[in-house]
Subunit: 198 residues, 2 copies
Amino acid sequence: MHTKPPNHALANTRAAILDLAERLLQEKGYNAFSYKDISSPLGIKNAAVHYHFPTKTALGVATLRRYRERFQEYIQGFEQSDADPLMKLNGYIAIQIDHLRNGYRICPLGILEAEYNTIPSELRAEAQALEKEIWFWVRGTLAAGREQNIFHFMGTSEDKACLISAALQGALQMARTAGQSAFFAIVRQLKRDLGLKE
Amino acid sequence: MHTKPPNHALANTRAAILDLAERLLQEKGYNAFSYKDISSPLGIKNAAVHYHFPTKTALGVATLRRYRERFQEYIQGFEQSDADPLMKLNGYIAIQIDHLRNGYRICPLGILEAEYNTIPSELRAEAQALEKEIWFWVRGTLAAGREQNIFHFMGTSEDKACLISAALQGALQMARTAGQSAFFAIVRQLKRDLGLKE
DNA sequence: TCTCTAACTTACTTATAAGTAAGTAGGTAG
DNA sequence: CTACCTACTTACTTATAAGTAAGTTAGAGA
């Protein structure tokens, strides 16, 4: 049975590496974490990380890809439960709040865009893909919400989706210097600007 | 005459270092540029940069301080010319457009916040100061604009100022993956959400 | 003219990064 | 029981980072 997974620690170690990489990426950035930052906390050696992810680029790509997959599953969940546009928007905001409360993390997209000129092209491609996926879904959610008279705004849902995703990305970053209250001020205002009552 | 500045290249070199540091900071981030990235293009040696700025922290702080001073002079210019709130807002946006067109730079605040957990505390303090200065001025501009019936928005000018500065910060970053059009989409939408016609 | 100093260069040090080659332990398949 | 493979470790290499100590040079001041 060659399809049977080996009962070693592979899956665990690999997942643990990705968990840590994701956290380090959101907390410190791609350039600012090293293999040692991953291996030491896990009690393994540097080369063990290289075994699972030969290069840092590969590690970064795998981390981003998993993040994107989770995001897709998350929004798939809304489709299957017939969530209304407001619930979807709140779901998107909830992801950001989760990042905020979990050690002032920022959106992986934010860090990759900030470091854009210094990261490998494979990672840039991942960032572009994530960016598109978020924007596309937010855009659809806004359009549906307006049609159902839940959201009220001027202009196109394309533009509004750009604004909202950029604002939330900036909000998480701003929270680092200005505190969590700045983040919630932005969420509050975004909702007001959608004609939602508080 | 001990107050007379030496006619060496000091002022030029020092300013040239700061110019390059500022550009590298906005293009690649604080962690991703080295003394060599500064010395080689200027045709000087590594240690020459250390002569002017003993540590990278000192260089970073000086760069940020100069940026803040320029920002203060810029907004002072508006006060002296009795610019109306819309002109002020457009002036603020013009800074961002300038960054965008000048090699997809992002706001120094954006990069420092993204790298926040990895930078020295002195730099964090500079980031906080810049953040406060921008927010304070935007807040005042929005409040005045609303009083003069130029801007129209719900909620407090505090919240709206947070949203606008975060959105523009995010907009510059987003332009790197989504192109300049994403930036202008956000500006367009921000203006619509202030009740301004296009 | 002599001296001092600002603005450097030369030549290092120390630390840390990513990455690799070769070995090993323990379970698995035949 | 043997051969093999997965998941590692050990022990390196190479590159680059920030930072420093000791020189060098050109011009200004006395």
